[in-house]
């Protein structure tokens, strides 16, 4: 369904698109993180795609030795009514990823949440604070090596 868009993307960024996957009628495009801002800009402005609405940005921990973290962008077009998913991979040795807040200002809080939950740092984000957890918390709870029961004493409690 979205082959036109993915073909255009491949023509525009031949080196950056690593995979295009289809599952249950949904398209996922794997791209290299260096070019994510340019690709998002293209997806937003190109007349065939017009993804003007960033539904969500989230992170996932694939728990693999290489490219451990994924950052997933779920995009929607309020004009053309279609969805696409863009995914970038972030290695544990370099936890930085360019921020897309310049393309969609609404990616601000979801990126902060991603930073809070899996620890990917978004470069170019003007307010990279934690979203939910306290500022003094040292861990990233949605990483697979963080135990579900939590880590004792990881959150300092106020003194009596």
């Amino acid at each position: 369904m979205l082959t036109k868009i993915t073909e255009k993307l491949k023509a525009q960024f031949p080196d950056s698109i690593t995979a295009v996957l289809e599952f249950r009628g949904e398209t996922t495009v794997h791209v290299k993180k260096e070019n994510i801002v340019a690709i998002c800009q293209f997806l937003r402005d190109d007349t065939a795609s017009l993804f003007d609405y960033c539904s969500d940005v989230c992170g996932a921990d694939a728990y693999t030795p290489e490219n451990r973290f994924e950052v997933i962008y779920n995009l929607y077009s309020t004009i053309l009514n279609h969805r696409i998913r863009v995914k970038v991979f972030v290695d544990e040795s370099d936890l930085h990823c360019p921020s897309v807040t310049s393309v969609w200002p609404g990616a601000n809080w979801p990126e902060r949440e991603t930073f809070d939950m899996v620890g990917v740092v978004f470069d170019g984000h003007n307010d990279m604070r934690r979203m939910y957890m306290p500022e003094e918390f040292e861990y990233h709870p949605l990483r697979k090596d963080f135990p579900m029961m939590g880590i004792p004493d990881s959150i300092p409690l106020p003194r009596k």
């Binding site: 249950r24 949904e26 003007d52 539904s55 921990d61 309020t78 009514n81 969805r83 969609w104 949605l142």
Partner: protein, 418 residues
């Protein structure tokens, strides 16, 4: 880092965020009347545990930084550690004002991942319960907004109607709030005739009572003037900031997932999408009000069109069997054992499915590795994204308008904090 240092660091960071904001309000006053006000997390107008840090210039809001996380329970982490069925009760606690809607949204996402579909009757019942949840949520939204700007009577009247709806939910599901009514591939059980007659009875008297509330508000000059032109956002900004639901339709964007990306049986039903163009608090109120009327239309059509038949898909390996056959038949016992102990094991893949919930686009992004529990489950919560625009809406306005803006945004912290 000891406790005091940690608290100090945190305060410094919040203050720095407040100071660094580019605000449209500047003043060069000899009288230093700038102050930082902490609103919440315990404040009746924040509808839960939202904390707003506000920099004030006299009575004008110069900057506003929302702080979230006071109700963060880590549902996404929990989801990774329980099976697809076990997560259904947790969805009740997301948007606790419309739990039935969340149940429906979650199972629709899982069904899409597995590749099954619930039978027609179950889909109609899901539409009915979703729309009832929408009405009860909007009743609270309208009532609480009226209370925030000083009209207490409407709040009690709206709650009275809401209470009648909760009686129906109790009759239907056995619980008022923690409904957990949907199942993967169907429902917990069929809608009994007495529930259907209770719904019909309720909607026979509801429009009149609802109009009473509206007369109290729409002809109330104080209410209208408190909201008119307050907390405006432009169409471009609203889309770019990821607003959704009634708040997006109040800026003139006719984007309703029930129409644009139809799910369940919405494309067989006749209803309108109310759209207003001003983008202020009053428009957001009007959108909700008209949506209630459209939802009544939808429910009446569903009750008329609802076919007879089963409410569980015929997928023995994916759908929990009924209790009676489990005790009498071997096959069902095996399937029950396998589903409860090992889960439904969807194929490897990832999906994102969004529905138009009462607050906006409620989406579930699920990564499956073929196991009984999701590898990653992300909840795209509409309240979270709507709250993001709070600072845009209140900056430059009066401090007393903050409660009106928050009330008209209608956030639920259970959903925003997950």
């Amino acid at each position: 880092m000891n406790v005091e240092q940690a608290m100090e660091v945190r305060q410094q960071k919040i203050l720095a965020a407040l100071e660094n904001k580019n605000t449209s309000v500047y003043f060069q006053d000899a009288l230093d009347n700038e102050m930082v006000l902490n609103m919440g997390p315990q404040h009746p107008a924040t509808h839960g545990v939202l904390r707003l840090l506000i920099k004030l210039d006299g009575e004008t809001v110069a900057a506003c930084v929302p702080e979230l996380g006071y109700l963060h329970r880590g549902y996404e982490k929990l989801a990774e550690n329980c099976s697809y069925h076990e997560f259904i009760p947790h969805t009740d606690r997301l948007d606790y004002l419309s739990p039935l809607m969340n149940n429906t949204a979650y199972v629709l996402a899982v069904e899409k991942l597995i590749g099954i579909e619930a039978p027609k009757r179950a889909q109609y019942i899901r539409v009915i319960i979703s729309e009832m949840a929408r009405i009860s949520s909007h009743l609270l939204g309208i009532g609480a907004l009226a209370m925030d700007v000083g009209a207490l009577t409407v709040f009690t009247w709206a709650f009275r109607e809401r209470e009648k709806m909760y009686d129906i939910f109790e009759l239907l599901t056995g619980a008022r709030f923690t409904t957990s009514f949907t199942r993967i591939g169907g429902l917990a059980h069929d809608m009994k005739p007495e529930v259907i007659s209770a719904i019909k009875e309720f909607f026979d008297q509801f429009p009149e009572k609802f109009n009473e509330c509206l007369t109290m508000l729409n002809t109330n000059r104080i209410f209208v003037e408190r909201l008119d032109g307050v907390g405006t956002i432009s169409r471009e900004n609203a889309i770019a900031m990821g607003m959704s639901g009634p708040n997006l339709r109040a800026v003139g964007v006719a984007c309703d997932l029930r129409r644009t990306q139809p799910y369940l049986v919405y494309n067989e039903l006749d209803f309108n999408i109310p759209v207003f163009n001003d983008g202020d608090s009053l428009s957001r109120y009007y959108v909700r009000l008209n949506e209630v009327k459209e939802s009544i239309k939808i429910i009446r059509q569903c009750l008329e069109k609802m076919p007879a038949g089963p409410v569980h898909a015929n997928e023995p390996k994916k759908v929990l069997p009924r209790k009676e056959p489990i005790y009498t038949k071997m096959e069902e016992l095996i399937h029950d054992f396998m589903i409860v102990n090992f889960g439904v094991n969807p194929p490897v893949g990832e999906i994102y499915h969004a529905v138009e919930a009462s607050k906006g686009e409620l989406g579930f992004y699920i990564q499956s590795r073929g196991e009984g529990h999701p590898w990653r489950l992300k909840i795209r919560s509409p309240s979270f994204m709507n709250l993001q625009s709070t600072s845009l809406l209140v900056e430059g306005g009066m401090i007393s308008d903050i409660v009106a803006v928050l009330g008209s945004l209608d956030p639920v912290m259970g959903e925003a904090d997950k």
